[in-house]
Each structure stands twice: as structure tokens, then as C-alpha cells.
């Protein structure tokens, strides 16, 4: 739970300044420092990173609306613009998971 929260907060903060892949580094670093097992690290990062993106996307949609989201869904020929939310969630979640996997693998290697 602590790892999950740490990744959630820190990955959200760094992405305000750094590119999207900074969350991969955050997940790796924190998994290295606080990961208990592969499952624990990967699952924490998967959920934390996914929720950061999903949450922020929902926040924007709440305050600014969905006009661009709808157009992008049409551009990508998606049947519904709501699919962009799970797509963004999965994308960030996978990014975080790969990072956590790498971070925890380094930890294991050094033990």
C-alpha cells in the first residue's frame, strides 16, 4: 500500500515537469527501494500509474469537457470516446509495471 501511494504521488508530481516515461523511472526506483516481491512491486506500479493517468484524464474532462476527446476517438475510429479512458489507464499501468519489474529485478540482482 505504501509503495502504491508513493508511486501514485511521486509519478504524478514528476510528470508535471518531465515526459511521460519519467513514471517508468519512478516506478523502477521506488520498487527498488520499497518493493517486497515482483507481484507486490508490479501490481502497485500498475495500479498507481494507471490511476494517475485515469484520474487526471477524468479531472480534465470534468472541468474542461470532452470535445477533443471525442474528436480523437473519431480520429482513431474508436466506437466510443469512453474507450480512451481504459486505453490511457492501461498504457500508463503497463509503463509503470515494466518500470517496477525492472527496478525490482535490479534489487534481486544485487541481493
Amino acid at each position: 500500500m505504501i509503495l502504491f501511494l508513493l508511486i501514485l504521488v511521486i509519478s504524478a508530481l514528476v510528470q508535471l515537469w518531465l515526459p511521460w516515461w519519467s513514471m517508468l523511472l519512478v516506478a523502477a526506483l521506488l520498487s527498488y527501494l520499497a518493493g517486497k516481491s515482483y507481484t507486490h512491486a508490479i501490481l502497485s506500479a500498475f495500479l498507481a500509474c494507471g490511476i494517475v493517468w485515469l484520474g487526471y484524464a477524468l479531472m480534465i474532462s470534468g472541468s474542461e469537457g470532452n470535445l477533443m476527446t471525442n474528436r480523437v476517438a473519431e480520429l482513431l475510429t474508436l466506437p466510443s470516446s469512453w474507450l480512451l479512458y481504459p486505453i490511457s489507464f492501461i498504457f500508463a499501468a503497463v509503463t509503470g509495471a515494466i518500470g517496477a519489474w525492472s527496478g525490482f529485478a535490479i534489487k534481486k540482482f544485487r541481493q
Partner: protein, 805 residues
């Protein structure tokens, strides 16, 4: 195994980041694009505008930007520098991507953004000398202190916005194509002006006409390609006495016809480019003050060409539309005067046959000696691959566009010919707009006009002193009659342009007896005008209709004028429908054909969105045109005569040898062609849209669409249901039409109305991206907010921004 457990995840991490940070085919890098921190999510916009304080380096005082409910900014500044700096800043804030993309397009730099497939387009822009033209214009503009100040301040404003722009806030098109904006320059302002010049004065029919001359002889030219309108209703009223002593016109040299075998491709003069404007003086209005109206017709794009603004400082208080990328208001009004432009279509682009000494193109023959060419090396950067070099050969006439070796986008340029184009000459149209924005009377207006050279425009003018005027205005070469109608000989000095028509001799009229002025791209003058401007201009169908309505009008108000801009009377049908119906043999029709003919008999000749008669008439008219001309003039490299000639041919049953179909042994007569065309039109309609005529509604068949500049359907509007068509006052066709409609009622307190098919924001994620399309499609207009003071209380104001250093 131990090592693999380490390296597998690390390798996957690296690969994943690399792959997801790169474009996948035409798709943007998914990592950047889907991120709510930087990607498309950030371009969602609620449209709520709140008061802001913005620091901008370079401002000398405080600038107030008052935003109204249509997102129109009203800029109040102390001086010209601050005014144009703020204008540049606001243009960039709302239209950055469009301004940069259009200047990239002008300069032939699209391959940089989208790769090799834009090379034929870019190469053509380079060969056309677009950057060369912009450089000449920039130099001329920067030599004048007034223009220099405006351009430098405007450029600083755009760059101030760029300096503040965060990645997350980049317009979505940058994210889609994955590139970054570059700093704005004064050259880009010039490029944008040349982009418009090319749109409006970058075409000629010299090549197809030469082909027709060679194929069918002088008699074909005389009967089909000479400027005799079906209805004579010139812009400057017939009989106007010229207030100048004309210069002698150069003598026409002995006949010379280019021997180059030319037929290549169907040429592409844009038949839809047209516009309307008019002004009525107080004797015809309810208020006793003039009303001026204008609606320029252009390709319908998103974001729109135009951006509405009010610009106020101690020198001016001017409202109307601006072109993002250029300082000033281009069509508009201030407290004293109003103006609007339509295109003249002057013949200012001619082709010269050039004889080169050898295939190194170093020298060419001119005036009995060999003259050196200059060469300009163009480097076209191409995304994803090496840059392409192209050498453009310049003679003293201008660049050789088609060298015959490499692929250009259009294939209708005479090969090996040099292009003489007025757009290449140094010019200062910006000065005209700076002066117009500040003009207070007719004298100021005429002075402003004297700086405007290309693309020549019909400027309608009205002022609060009850003067109305129209100038067919531009720099016109002093030509012999019809010089440059055909290809010219580049080795003979007497084939060149011989000088210029003095500005005071441009066709114009002040306060004509009929109490109104108007233009709709038709012939400028009657035959007494001593100079040659072009052999053909648009058929006066729109002009004729406008003049009929204005002639009859009394006690006119904005309401009637708004209706006239949305007038859908099909004048072609008005002229010919009765004759065409008479030629149909009703006993040979089947019941559905008979029913359609019956509807046409009862038709009020209005091209309404929901009607089917316009659809049927249009199909019939097209069939008839093809039936008359296709056998002789449908071949590649030739062209049909203007609509005028077809009107005359059908109305008076002239040109019988052309009516006959050369591909059949029989001799066809006009009534038979009309009858047959009708049956074919109905048959085609039934095949394409089905037997149920409710599917034949004009708006559905016409399908007005407003495409995003990148032609991405998700960013475009398709199926806009609206009336009108080309050749009709409401000239809304499929992808072309009134790009801005404006009505100005002058008076003690000026009142104005306007609308354009788009919205003030260039962001497709904003409700202000396309919010004016629906009211525009119904012919509605917004009352324009005109503020006297930044602190003025008005219900239409939604927020005020303070800009300061």
C-alpha cells in the same frame, strides 16, 4: 538465468520507451499523445474565459484585452507598438498552428512536417518563387517606418506567446504530427500575405487558350473566349466618365504563336473564387446613412482564414476581420468609414517561352543576345529522410516553373517557360491596411488604395459623410489589348509588360447617380475604359442580382442586407429555365421525368437547402454544358468557355457548329441537346440518389463541408446543411463560399453585423472552434460589439485581460 532476469526487464523498458516515444506510421507517439499531462486531453477546453493578468516583455504601457461572448478580443493600447504586439500575441494564442502551417505551406515546407508525399507540392511552391516573393515584399515593407514598427511589434507579440507556451498547451496539430513551433519572423508575415496573393492572383489560362487557338483557330477564340458578358452590368456603372487622360497603350507586336506542343492536362483555374461587396448611400437607407456590405468567398477551412478583432488606440478604433499572421484589420470599419474587398482577377501572371543556350540553363536568348540566368538553390527538408535540393532557374521575367524533369503537384504549367508574376514584385499592401484602419475620409481612402498592388481587389467604400465609392484597385501592367491572353515570346522586349497604369487611372467611381456601388467579380468597366485588365471576368450573375435588388431598394436596413447576402436566386435558371423547359418534348418523358419538369415549372428559382429543384436544374445544366462543349473542348490541356458564353449560346442558340456533337454523324440541334440532357440528368439522379426524391434535397446533394487544413475528418465539419451555390449571391458551394459576411451601418453610432463559418478558437477541442457554422449556415449574423472604452460596462463582455511588461 540470473543475468537474463535482470536484462530482460531492462531491455523491455528501453524498447518500450523508445517505441512509445516514436510515431507509429501516421499516428503520433502514443506516450506523449495519450498522456493527460502533455497529450490531447490537455486540448479539451470548456470555453470559460476569466480575467487574467499577463506579463509580456516589450510592452511600453498597459494593454487591455476585453473578450466578448463570441470570444472576440477588443484590444485597447496606448500606441501602435503595443497594439500590434498585443494583436500578434492574441493571434498566436488562438491561431498559432494555422498561422505557422499556412506560412510553411507558402514557403514550400510541408515535407518537413509530413514527409516525402508533400514533395511535389513543396517543389512547386519553390519553383513558383513564393519565398522569393515574400523576401521582396518583406524588404519593401521594412523600408517604411510605419510598416516596420507594426511588423516588428507583431512579431515580438507572437514570440512572446511562444516563450510562454508550455508543451501541454501546444495546439493539438503539433501533437498529432509531433513537431514544435519555430520563432515567428517578419518574413512569415510576408509569406502569409503572399499565400493570399497566390490564392487570388496565382492562376492563368494562357496555356489552354494557346492550345485552343492552335487547335481551332482565331474564330474559336473570337466566338468563345472573348469578354462579352451575357448581361452587361460592369462594376463601374456603364457610361461613367473617366476623370483622367489615358496614357498611350503599347502597340501590339506582329502575331506570334508559341510553337511548343503543349497539351498536357486539364488546367485548374478555380472557378469558384469570387466575392460580393456593395455600399448604398443614405438616400436608399432608413437611417439616412450609408450601409456597406461584404462577403469574400474563399475555400472553406477550419480553422477559418479570418479572425475577428477590434483594435483601439489613440490613432484608430477599427473592427472587422484580421488574417492570423498579419497585423491590422483586413476587412472592416472604424467610426468614420467602412470597406470590403472582392477579387478583380486581373491578368498579372503571364508565361514567356524561353530559349536556353544549352541544357545547363546558364544563358537564354533575349533581344538578340545571350543573357545570364540566376539560380536559386532550394533545400527542401524532408521528414524521415535526406533533404532534397532543387535548382530554380530565374530569367529576368521570373522563375522557370516546369523544367520538365521533376514532378510538380500540378501538371498544367507550360514546360520550360518563365513566369512573369506581379506577386514577385516588391509591394506594400500592408501599408494600405494600416492607412485604411486609420482613414477618416475619402481622401485618406484613396491614399491607402495607392499602396495596394496585388492581388488587385475591388474595394467598396462608404463613409459617415454619405460618400460611397468603389475602386477596381491594384497595380496593373500597361498592356496592349489582350497581352498575355496567350503564351508570350520571352526573347522579344516588345512582348514584355511596357509600364504601369497610373493608380489614378484604376477604374473607380465616387457617388454614382444610382446611389449604390457593388461588385461581384464581374467585368470591371464598360468598353470605354482605355486599358486592358483581363479578357474575362466572372459572369455577372451575382452582380446582376445584387444590382436588381439595390436598384429597387428604398429605406434599406441591415435586415434587408443580411437577407441579400443570403439571397439564393439562381440567375442562370432565371435567364434560361423557361427556354430550356420549352425545348423539352413532354410527350417523350416518363411519369417521374414529367413530375420533375412540372416541379421546375413551378420553381421560384431559389437554391434553397431543402428544395429539390435546384438539384435537378444543376444536374441538367451540367449535362447540357458537357453536351455542348465536351466533344471539342473536354480534351486535356483545353478548357470550356466561361459561363457567360454558355448562357449566350443557349439563350440565343448561337455557336451552332459547337453545339453539334462532332463524334456523331448526325447534326445535333440545341433543343434536342436540351431535351436529351434533361432525361440524362434525371436518369443519373435516380441512379445515384434513388427514386425517392426526398433524397434529392439540394443541401444533401451539394454537401457543404468545411475541412480542417490537414484534411482530417475528425477535425472537420461535413454535411453542413445550407442553401446557395456558386454563381448565386449566397455563393456557398461544396467546399467554397462566403468566408466572412459583414454588414456595417454607418451613422452617429456605427452598428455592424458579421459571421464566418468557423469560430474564434483554432482549437478543435474548444466550443469556439466551430460555433458560428450553424448560424452561418442559416444566414444569421451576430451583432458586433463595438466598444469605446476598455472599462465600458456591457453585458456581452465576459472577461478583461491586462497585458503589461
Amino acid at each position: 538465468m540470473h543475468w537474463l532476469r535482470l536484462f530482460l526487464p531492462l531491455a523491455i523498458s528501453l524498447l518500450f520507451v523508445y517505441a512509445m516515444n516514436s510515431r507509429i506510421g501516421a499516428l503520433p507517439p502514443p506516450g506523449k499523445f495519450f498522456s493527460p499531462f502533455t497529450g490531447f486531453w490537455q486540448n479539451n477546453e470548456s470555453g470559460v474565459v476569466t480575467a487574467e493578468e499577463i506579463n509580456i516583455t516589450g510592452l511600453t504601457g498597459i494593454v487591455k484585452v476585453v473578450m466578448d461572448k463570441n470570444l472576440v478580443p477588443h484590444i485597447f493600447a496606448d500606441n501602435n507598438h503595443d497594439l500590434y504586439l498585443a494583436q500578434g500575441y492574441i493571434h498566436a494564442k488562438y491561431r498559432l498552428w494555422q498561422m505557422e502551417f499556412q506560412t510553411h505551406a507558402a514557403a514550400g515546407r510541408i515535407s518537413e512536417l509530413i514527409g516525402e508525399r508533400a514533395l511535389p507540392y513543396d517543389r512547386q511552391q519553390r519553383r513558383f518563387g513564393m519565398a522569393f516573393a515574400a523576401e521582396c515584399a518583406e524588404e519593401a515593407m521594412m523600408a517604411d517606418p510605419m510598416m516596420k514598427e507594426a511588423l516588428l511589434a507583431y512579431t515580438a507579440g507572437v514570440n512572446a506567446y511562444l516563450a510562454q507556451l508550455k508543451t501541454a498547451q501546444l495546439p493539438v496539430e503539433y501533437k498529432l504530427l509531433d513537431y514544435q513551433p519555430e520563432p515567428w519572423t517578419t518574413l512569415k508575415c510576408a509569406l502569409l500575405l503572399k499565400y493570399m496573393t497566390y490564392e487570388l492572383a496565382g492562376r492563368s489560362s494562357d496555356l489552354p487558350l494557346t492550345n485552343i487557338l492552335k487547335t481551332y483557330g482565331q474564330s474559336a477564340i473570337d466566338s468563345l473566349f472573348s469578354g462579352t458578358p451575357y448581361v452587361v452590368d460592369p462594376i463601374i456603372p456603364a457610361g461613367t466618365v473617366w476623370d483622367f487622360t489615358p496614357l498611350p497603350v503599347p502597340a501590339q507586336p506582329a502575331g506570334w504563336i508559341s510553337e511548343v506542343p503543349v497539351p498536357e492536362d486539364q488546367p485548374a483555374p478555380h472557378p469558384d473564387n469570387g466575392s460580393n461587396n456593395w455600399a448604398v448611400n443614405g438616400s436608399k437607407t432608413a437611417s439616412g446613412f450609408p450601409i456597406l456590405c461584404g462577403d469574400p468567398h474563399l475555400g472553406l477551412n477550419l480553422p477559418s482564414y479570418w479572425y475577428q478583432m477590434q483594435l483601439v488606440n489613440k490613432e484608430c478604433n477599427v473592427s472587422g476581420v484580421s488574417l492570423p499572421g498579419v497585423p491590422t484589420i483586413i476587412i472592416g470599419f472604424n467610426e468614420k468609414i467602412a470597406w470590403s474587398e472582392t477579387n478583380v482577377d486581373a491578368d498579372v501572371l503571364d508565361w514567356y517561352q524561353v530559349k536556353f543556350r544549352d541544357n545547363r540553363f546558364d544563358e537564354y536568348f533575349y533581344d538578340n543576345q545571350w543573357k545570364k540566368t540566376t539560380k536559386r538553390i532550394e533545400v527542401i527538408k524532408v521528414r524521415g529522410t535526406d533533404a532534397v535540393m532543387d535548382t530554380v532557374i530565374y530569367t529576368h521575367h521570373g522563375p522557370v516553373v516546369a523544367q520538365g524533369d521533376k514532378e510538380l503537384m500540378d501538371d498544367d504549367f507550360p514546360k520550360g517557360f518563365a513566369m512573369r508574376w506581379l506577386g514577385h514584385d516588391p509591394s506594400v499592401e500592408l501599408k494600405s491596411f494600416l492607412l485604411l484602419n486609420r482613414a477618416g475620409d475619402y481622401k485618406n481612402f484613396v491614399e491607402a488604395m495607392s499602396y495596394f498592388s496585388c492581388p488587385a481587389q475591388n474595394f467598396a467604400y462608404a463613409d459617415v459623410e454619405n460618400n460611397i465609392a468603389i475602386w477596381v484597385n491594384g497595380k496593373f501592367p500597361l498592356k496592349w489589348k489582350e497581352q498575355g491572353k496567350f503564351l508570350l515570346d520571352g526573347s522579344k522586349p516588345e512582348h514584355e509588360w511596357q509600364g504601369w497604369i497610373p493608380h489614378g487611372h484604376d477604374p473607380h467611381v465616387l457617388n454614382p447617380a444610382r446611389a449604390f456601388v457593388s461588385s461581384a467579380n464581374q467585368l470591371s468597366t464598360d468598353t470605354t475604359y482605355p486599358y486592358y485588365i483581363n479578357w474575362s471576368m466572372d459572369a455577372p450573375r451575382r452582380g446582376h442580382r445584387i444590382n436588381q435588388v439595390l436598384e429597387a431598394g428604398t429605406q434599406l436596413t441591415a435586415k434587408e442586407m443580411i437577407a441579400l447576402q443570403f439571397d439564393n436566386k439562381n440567375m442562370t435558371a432565371d435567364y434560361l429555365l423557361a427556354d430550356m423547359i420549352k425545348a423539352v418534348n413532354e410527350s417523350a418523358l416518363n411519369p417521374s421525368q414529367l413530375q420533375q419538369l412540372q416541379s421546375l415549372k413551378n420553381w421560384n428559382r431559389m437554391a434553397e437547402a431543402g428544395g429539390t429543384e435546384q438539384t435537378v436544374f444543376e444536374a441538367w445544366w451540367k449535362k447540357l454544358n458537357n453536351a455542348i462543349w465536351d466533344d471539342e473542348l473536354g480534351k486535356e490541356g483545353l478548357q470550356y468557355p466561361d459561363a457567360d458564353i454558355t448562357l449566350t449560346t443557349v439563350k440565343f442558340n448561337r455557336n451552332k457548329s459547337w453545339i453539334d456533337n462532332k463524334n456523331t454523324p448526325a447534326t445535333e440541334e440545341l433543343p434536342a441537346l436540351i431535351h436529351q440532357s434533361f432525361i440524362e440528368a434525371i436518369t443519373d439522379m435516380e441512379a445515384q440518389y434513388g427514386a425517392d426524391v426526398t433524397n434529392w434535397q439540394w443541401a444533401a446533394v451539394k454537401n457543404t463541408h468545411i475541412n480542417h487544413l490537414l484534411r482530417i475528418p475528425a477535425l472537420s465539419r461535413n454535411h453542413v446543411s445550407t442553401s446557395g451555390n456558386q454563381g448565386i449571391v449566397n455563393a456557398t458551394g461544396g467546399g467554397h463560399g462566403p468566408s466572412w459576411r459583414m454588414i456595417v451601418e454607418l451613422g452617429k453610432q456605427v452598428k455592424a453585423y458579421g459571421i464566418y463559418p468557423g469560430g474564434q478558437s483554432g482549437n478543435p477541442g474548444s466550443p469556439f472552434y466551430d460555433n458560428m457554422i450553424d448560424p452561418w449556415s442559416k444566414g444569421l449574423q451576430n451583432e458586433l460589439l463595438i466598444l469605446q472604452d476598455a472599462n465600458e460596462k456591457n453585458a456581452a463582455v465576459i472577461a478583461t485581460w491586462t497585458l503589461k511588461n
